[in-house]
Symmetry: C2
């Protein structure tokens, strides 16, 4: 995905800051907060400002390239927008956030389209619980 193209096509400028935010986001194994993105980019560009992170993320979201997930309290978590609809599993014990692939989001959409008159644009599903690694092993006997 060529952000430079996308940006210019929409009349925006391609700046090093925007490229950096995007590449950090793409390289991330998991979701990142604005602060985390800021920290990573700052290693290379010390004067890089948080405000620019927010501005860039908002822009990327407008273009449909990035997406914010609110996983409870605390700051928003950002990720590359996936065309497929996944949802988040947040472990209360270790804090790990997992993507879970499934047709559930699609089911919701289908369910709503059936006569409810509500046009679903964005389905946000967050499940809090305890992940397999943190769950107590089944009691023997």
């Amino acid at each position: 995905m060529d952000v430079g193209h996308r940006l210019r096509d929409e009349g925006y400028r391609l700046t090093p800051q925007r490229q950096l935010v995007w590449s950090v986001l793409r390289a991330a194994e998991h979701h990142l907060t604005a602060e985390e993105i800021h920290a990573r980019v700052s290693r290379t560009v010390p004067e890089f400002n948080v405000a620019s992170v927010y501005r860039t993320l908002t822009l990327l979201a407008d273009l449909g390239l990035a997406k914010e997930a609110r996983l409870g309290d605390g700051p928003g978590h950002w990720e590359v927008a996936h065309p497929d609809d996944a949802f988040h599993l947040v472990c209360r014990a270790c804090g790990t956030v997992d993507h879970h692939q499934g047709d559930l989001v699609e089911q919701v959409r289908a369910h709503l389209s059936g006569g409810h008159g509500f046009v679903a644009q964005d389905v946000d599903l967050v499940v809090h619980g305890v992940c397999a690694a943190c769950a107590p092993p089944p009691a023997a006997g």
Copy 2:
């Protein structure tokens, strides 16, 4: 539901502020933000403080009587905790928040319990879109 009992049973005190927050919450036709609750209670008790709203809501949530819903940006929205699992439909046009009853949340739970090893404790489902009232009528012809 007798909050007084619940509170005292758990070793908490029943104060007029807590009663007021609870009754405002129960009387509300829809979700309320902490500020809205504060505003309503303040009509009767002018010196009533926002901090107490937050403290009370947190307490009620701990007791399982109230629940916070994060419906996007902005402040959290509070409601009486329903035993049944409903989810929220937020209209981007008019801002209306609808409860939608369905087995979807249960489906999610069932889906996850099937071999994924993730123990779902809380399923938060928020759908943003356009409600029936705001949706453009189907084009004739």
